[in-house]
Amino acid sequence: MDIINWSSILESLLFAAGDEGLSLKQLVEVLEVDELKASEIIEDVKHEYEQNNRGIMIVQLAGTYQLATKKENAAYLKKLVDSPHTTTLSQAALETLAIIAYKQPITRAEIEEIRGVKTERPLHTLSAKVLIKEVGRAEGTGRAYLYGTTKEFLDYFGLKSLEELPQLPEKVADEFIQEEADLFFEKFQETINS
């Protein structure tokens, strides 16, 4: 009596994959079905999403399937973006601020690498609130701006100096950096050996 509920599973998978999306190949692997069946499941869910009362849809982007919000609800999303501006910072802005506080001086590209998403707007917000500022330029091509925290940042959080920032769970941070380095090395090895 174990009927596998493919639509439900696909929705879960696509949801958790977020902006990274999933390729047909990945779906085939995870669902353990053939490509035809996987495509069928996708089509099924697509149809369900086309129903009027759904707010999400499946889009195909850069070879992956992703969930996205329906365009006709854009006005409400706009309101969502505009509304919380009053006294609190968004998760995006807080994340960005934390990264800058602990890793300054740092370029936008480096921040985006850590966050995995574009960070133009949070940087703009934080600059506007004078919590961060440009503190110089990176070496090398592009000479990107380097960001750091301001005196106002310290004042605002009641810190005498940056040393007073609470310690990060170092292991997590180390692991993080280590793994990225390994990945590079691995790829590099592959190339020179091929």
Binding site: L22, E95, K129, T191
Partner: protein, 256 residues
């Protein structure tokens, strides 16, 4: 029968005592102090024989147990009850304080157990990071407004980010390793350059912030230079770098 103890599996002396009480099927409200003390001391002895650090708390508890044991041996009931001048004192059991502590600790040990299963349950649910809504933001007016966030909010946000990273990383690497091959990226770059029929800014070849993608792109460009499929040009130090497809290399990529 001497009881075999698991070494190092206890959070502290109270935890060990609770374990002994369970194991020996003792009523927590009527602890046979002599027996439990003996078992407790065996544990401590085993620990030191194995040259494990016996935390001072364990030793303090051993002393406490010995004190209680000796108090229990004092026959003082009769004296009290014969003394008519005294109000009938409700005599304290020397074990009372310990029992109270054990019961209090057991409560939180059970609560910790509940938390553990809640942690597991929660682990079955996956959430997604907020979508990038910058496209929906209309002209954003900077204002030095009053803020209502704390340092803690910032740390919480960062923690969330780390957790999310951890969540996404395996997927990113799994996918990336299979899908973004250097070969494929080389073909993509060549297609891009050929379509453009001109030079392209080096930086524009890196549209995605992911390190994986950047590394692969960089290696792909190096390989293309090596195979003389593209030409790279920089007019001054720190100036922009431009990349251009070389005509004769047009269909070489496919052979590799």
């Amino acid at each position: 029968m001497p009881y075999q103890v698991k070494i190092d599996a206890f959070e502290g002396p109270l935890d060990l005592l609770l374990h002994l009480i369970n194991r020996l099927e003792i009523d927590i409200y009527d602890i046979p102090v002599a027996q439990i003390t003996e078992q407790y001391l065996i544990y401590i002895k085993t620990m030191s024989e194995l040259k494990l650090d016996v935390a001072s708390e364990f030793l303090v508890m051993a002393a406490t147990l010995l004190v209680i044991k000796s108090k229990m041996l004092l026959p003082k009931h009769e004296e009290f009850f014969d003394d008519e001048d005294h109000e009938m004192p409700f005599e304290e059991d020397p074990r009372d304080e310990l029992v109270e502590r054990l019961i209090e600790y057991r409560k939180y040990k059970e609560a910790a157990h509940d938390l553990k299963s809640m942690e597991e349950e929660r682990g079955l649910m996956y959430t997604k990071p907020p979508s990038d809504l910058s496209d929906f933001a209309k002209d954003f007016q900077p204002q030095k407004a009053e803020l209502n966030v704390s340092l803690y909010d910032m740390l919480a946000a960062f923690q969330k980010l780390l957790r999310r990273k951890k969540l996404q990383r395996p997927m990113a690497t799994k996918i990336a390793r299979q899908e973004i091959s250097i070969e494929k990226r080389m073909t993509e770059i060549m297609d891009e350059l050929k379509q453009l029929k001109g030079r392209k800014n080096f930086n524009d070849l890196f549209p995605y912030p992911g390190k994986e993608h950047i590394v692969v792109t960089f290696l792909a460009i190096l390989e293309l230079i090596k195979r003389k499929e593209i030409d790279v040009e920089q007019q001054e130090n720190f100036g922009d770098i431009f990349v251009e497809a070389l005509k004769e290399g047009a269909d070489v990529v496919g052979y590799y």
